[in-house]
Each structure stands twice: as structure tokens, then as C-alpha cells.
């Protein structure tokens, strides 16, 4: 399936969604609700984004750095047991499985790096390199340099930076080579593992910030659903994932995300330009919804890493 067909299919899906009454859009629509007269962006009636934006957006839907920092910020300690163990790469035979688990390991690597567990990194780098070679992108991982940085505890910032830039280079290359289905699988794996780690920490801490972050994934799930559905027409692995993402989307329908609209401000403070968005996001998510989402994420993650 070529990209043009994919984007057209996505656009058609979005047009159909719009025709059936989807009204709000990211940052666009406003309505009033229980918050009183404050104008709000009420996303519960659905999400409308253009096919162009969806194709672009999938590139950076999940940042292992942000997820890992958020988790570390709760004060909870490092737990290697929640990660996909290194050395599992031989189990993954299809390109989809290799790519999606490359993404899973990318999220794990971000988590490990954030906690400065550089000795653990070395094992994961080996698995990552072998999976990357398996889908023809191993040349973007400078395994020797990464391993040297991991073994030298004074270079951990360089290790973190090189790890992330390597994955961005892989993503850029795959898109240039019209292998967006492979790069999308990596992004999906990174997102699922990131949310899985977040979920495990929520189970331990019940941290409100993390629960809100889980609720905010409502829009992201919709973007993933659209893209995965497009590939699922011609790929068995994507088709299997598609059904599970549909179920996750169904659970998220009960989560309410509202935004009090405000006017952005730009200030120059001590020569530094600062842009402040000035909006307030409210996440209305019940304990039951959190449990259901976490259970479904566990199921999806198991189906990817098993």
C-alpha cells in the first residue's frame, strides 16, 4: 500500500467521521459545559485532524524522555522488572514484530537512561542493535560509541542524547524510504511501552499527575487508531492490533478532557523569549476507567512483546 493511498484513506475516514457529527478539533472548537461560562475545548464528541497532520503527527507521538522524566518525578524508584527483558529479540520474526519491539526497547532505554542505570543499558543496546539490523536500519545505531558511553559514567548525557537522535534518524530514514508502516510500528511500540510503564507506576503510587497524563492520551489513542486502521487492511499484525486499539478507544470514550481557553502571552525575561499558552486542562477520569485502561494496555503490550 503506498503512502498516497494511506493518506487518502485516512482523509476519507476523517471526512466520514466529520459527516457523522464530529464537531470539535484540537485547539479549534469551543463550547460551554459544566465549567460555567468559561469557553472550553470539549473533545469528548470526537477529534478531527487532517490526514496530513495525522501522517506527520505519528512521527513524534511518544517521547521516551518525557515519559521517563514524569515517572521519575513521582519519586518512585527504578524497577527493571517492569521492562521487556533484554535478549528477547530472537522471538520476533516478522518485520512488524521486530519494529514494534524496537520501539518497546526504545522506551525501555529512555527509562533506564533517565535513572542513570548505565550498566543495564549495555544489555538493551545489544538487543536494540540486533532488531535494528533485522529491519535494515542498524547503520543508524553507532553501537560502539553507545556502548562506550554507557560504560563511562561521566558521559551519560551524551548517551541519552545519542540514543534519542539515533531513533529520530531511523524514523526519518524509514519515511524517506516510503517505509512508514515500519516507522509507525516503532512509534506504536514506544507509545505502548511508555504508557505501560506509566500504568505500572500508577498502580504503585496512584499519582494524580500520571493519572491525568493517562487520561490525556485520549486524543493520542484516536490518532493511533486512525493510522493503525489504515495499515490493518493489508497487514495481519496491524489488523490484530487494530481490534485492541478500537477496544481501548471505546474505554477512553468515557474520559472527559476539557480545556479552559485563554489567550497566549509572549514575554521577554532577561533576554529570553517565553511563550505561555495560558490554558487550563481538566481531566475527568474515574478510578474504574483508570483500571480498565490499564488492563487493556497490559493486554496490548503482552500481545506485542510475547
Amino acid at each position: 500500500m503506498n503512502n498516497r493511498h494511506i493518506f487518502r484513506s485516512t482523509a476519507i475516514a476523517l471526512v466520514v467521521a466529520t459527516a457523522f457529527g464530529v464537531q470539535s478539533c484540537v485547539g479549534g472548537g469551543s463550547s460551554n459545559n459544566e465549567l460555567g461560562d468559561v469557553p472550553v475545548d470539549d473533545r469528548d464528541s470526537g477529534l478531527v485532524v487532517s490526514g496530513e497532520v495525522v501522517s506527520d503527527m505519528i512521527q513524534n507521538i511518544s517521547s521516551p524522555v518525557e515519559m521517563a522524566n514524569e515517572v521519575k518525578g513521582t519519586g518512585v524508584g527504578f524497577s527493571q522488572g517492569i521492562l521487556n527483558p533484554a535478549g528477547m529479540e530472537n522471538k520476533y520474526e516478522t518485520s512488524f514484530k521486530k519494529a514494534v519491539n524496537l520501539g518497546v526497547y526504545a522506551a525501555d532505554l529512555g527509562y533506564i537512561n533517565t535513572f542513570n542505570k548505565n550498566l543495564v543499558v549495555v544489555d538493551y543496546l545489544g538487543s536494540i542493535k540486533r532488531l535494528a539490523d533485522g529491519i535494515g536500519v542498524g547503520q543508524f545505531l553507532d553501537f560502539t560509541t553507545l556502548t562506550r558511553l554507557a560504560k563511562n559514567s561521566t558521559n551519560l548525557d551524551s548517551l541519552k542524547q545519542l540514543s534519542v537522535t539515533s531513533f529520530n534518524d531511523i524514523d526519518r530514514y524509514l519515511r524517506e524510504q516510503n517505509r512508514s508502516n515500519v516507522s509507525t510500528a516503532i512509534v506504536v511500540g514506544t507509545w505502548v511501552e511508555g504508557i505501560y510503564i506509566t500504568s505500572q507506576v500508577i498502580n504503585q503510587t496512584h499519582d494524580k499527575g500520571l493519572i491525568d497524563r493517562l487520561g490525556e492520551q485520549k486524543d493520542i489513542v484516536e490518532i493511533l487508531r486512525i493510522v493503525i486502521n489504515t495499515y490493518s487492511k493489508s497487514d495481519r499484525d496491524y489488523k490484530a492490533l487494530s481490534g485492541k486499539i478500537e477496544e481501548l478507544k471505546h474505554i477512553y470514550e468515557g474520559v472527559k478532557v476539557t480545556t479552559e481557553m485563554g489567550e497566549p502571552e509572549t514575554q521577554e525575561i532577561d533576554g529570553m523569549l517565553i511563550i505561555v499558552q495560558n490554558e487550563i486542562t481538566h481531566i475527568d477520569i474515574s478510578e474504574e476507567q483508570v483500571k480498565s485502561i490499564i488492563a487493556k494496555i497490559n493486554e496490548i503490550r503482552s500481545s506485542l512483546v510475547e
Binding site: V26, D41, G73, Q161, P264, E279, T281
Partner: protein
């Protein structure tokens, strides 16, 4: 024959020079100017003269309760520095062109998780290139968010 060699050497030098202006050296510069923040993503910006004023767009997912930095390294032959604008849908949130000055670095305090558009253009009217780096400055809890 000598002339051919000289021409080839000249062409080779031109290629090396121009890749130095817009290639990996620019990325290294952008990363060194990022400071101590955590790298998230970079944007390889190439603006041909014909479309440099209309520019190009990138999509990026940003998270609520988060302060980001965007820093830009401009190609050495750019007639002017590139201008970046952040949009939420059609709503312009801000730009690095402020009070008549183009800033090569700015911070953005995001209060809503979602997909944002980064519009990049250059008023110089000639070919332009730049490398922009998005980095993580700080994540806030609800009650820490700057007002």
C-alpha cells in the same frame, strides 16, 4: 585536462561547503546551543528560494504542564534568520519574531496535551536552511504551573 580537474575540485569544494552550511555541522551547532536540557526531537529545515516565504510545516505532539525550549541554528548563507511560529490548530500561540527581533531560542510553556504545528519560513527570498531542536526544560505538577 587541467581545467577539468580544477572544475571538479571546485564542484567538490562547493558540495562540501554547502553540506557544511546545512548538514551535520549545523546539527552539532544546534545541539551545542541546546544547553543542558534534554533533547526530544530535531527538525531539518530546508527552504528553497521559491517557497521560503511561505515556508514549511511540522507537526509535533506536546504535553501539558511542560516547559519546552526550541533553539535554531541558521545556515551561514541564509539571507535572514528563519522565523518559527507555533500554532494550536489555526490559533497562533507565539513566534520567535518579537518586537522586531528574531530570537534563535525561545521557551514554550504548554498547558494542553495535543498536536501542534510548527510553521517555519524565511523572508530572505533565497535558499535557506536551519536546524531546530526541541528539548525538555521542565515538567510541572498542577499547582506549580506558572500563571
Amino acid at each position: 585536462m587541467g581545467r577539468i580537474y580544477l572544475t571538479l575540485i571546485g564542484l567538490f569544494s562547493l558540495i562540501v561547503t554547502s553540506s557544511g552550511q546545512c548538514g551535520e555541522e549545523l546539527m552539532k551547532q544546534a545541539l551545542s546551543e541546546m544547553g543542558s536540557y534534554q533533547y526530544i526531537k530535531d527538525f531539518d529545515i530546508k527552504l528553497p528560494a521559491a517557497s521560503s516565504k511561505t515556508g514549511t510545516k511540522y507537526s509535533v505532539v506536546l504535553n501539558s504542564r511542560t516547559k519546552y525550549q526550541v533553539n535554531v541554528a541558521n545556515g551561514s548563507t541564509n539571507a535572514e534568520n528563519v522565523i518559527l511560529q507555533i500554532f494550536d490548530g489555526d490559533k497562533l500561540l507565539g513566534t520567535n519574531f518579537y518586537n522586531g527581533k528574531t530570537y534563535n531560542v525561545f521557551k514554550f510553556i504548554c498547558s494542553k496535551t495535543g498536536a501542534y504545528k510548527l510553521n517555519v519560513f524565511c523572508n530572505g527570498g533565497t535558499d535557506a536552511c536551519a536546524r531546530a531542536v526541541l528539548s525538555l526544560v521542565e515538567q510541572y505538577s498542577d499547582n506549580e504551573m506558572p500563571k
